[in-house]
């Protein structure tokens, strides 16, 4: 499995990758992106099986990234991992094709639960 992690914070990308390992995805190949635009380019070239994206990112937000992906016909499983988790955001995320929105801080257990059935 190949997982693309998009977050403008290097520290948060490290935490997502650490938690993925703790949740049982230690064998996955991982790709990192520093913003939405970088993530879109890597999604097109790396063909990940799963995308985990922050919501607020420079150059292109997570939501804009998702919209662009779907407009490209890329149906890769997509989940938001973000510090905000309002009901409105969840609705927006799902409406645009995300499978889940996981709020920070997360644990290996919440990660595993969110990914069950989608990855």
């Amino acid at each position: 499995m190949k997982i693309l992690v998009a977050d403008d914070s290097k520290a948060m990308r490290m935490i997502v990758l650490r938690t993925l390992r703790q949740a049982g995805f230690g064998d996955a190949e991982t790709v990192e992106a520093v913003d939405g635009q970088d993530a879109l380019e890597k999604a097109r070239t790396e063909h990940p099986d799963l995308i985990l994206s922050d919501w607020n990112m420079p150059n292109m937000s997570g939501l804009e990234f998702l919209q662009a992906l779907r407009a490209d016909g890329i149906e890769t499983t997509f989940g938001f991992v973000t510090s905000e988790s309002t009901a409105a955001m969840r609705e927006q995320a799902i409406a645009h094709g995300a499978s889940f929105l996981l709020a920070k801080p997360f644990t290996p257990e919440s990660f595993s639960e969110a990914l069950t059935g989608v990855a």
Partner: protein, 176 residues
Amino acid sequence: MALRPPSTGAPSAPVADGSAIPLPIQEAVRDFLSDLLGRGVACDKASPDSWPDAAPVGAYRSDDGVLLAGCVATVPLAAACGAALAMLPATALDEVVEDGPLPEHLAENWFEVVNVLSGLLNSNSSPHLVLGTVTPLASGGEVAELVASSGRSRAFHVTIDGYGDGLLGFVTRSGD
């Protein structure tokens, strides 16, 4: 169909009242930071008389850009959290001076911690808050005024296993 009063056409003024914003209890702060940093955290209530000039203050603003809440910490705690977040060796804190400034690489990580801490202040029944800036208290301005004000506040003494301890506070703006 319910009747509505005629619109005056004038835009409503931004809400400048943070009284509905929840202030976290110590257990919530402890668990939140422990989950974020992936290590043990201890948290006790504290009542600091004041905050050092170098203390970084996170400014949380409403969707209208109004400053409604703040998060302030002593430099040692901000540094400890910043190092823990990136899983740096504890020796990364050797260069940290108690009265600041916060080293840049740790400041970047502390910004992320403060960003995630907004989750403790957001609720379905209070204005939506987003982190704007994190600046030293000595920078002054409305952020410093908020910290010094008699607005609702709570402070804690926080210890991050393996990294260090310090003070963390949250303050909300009272209605004008």
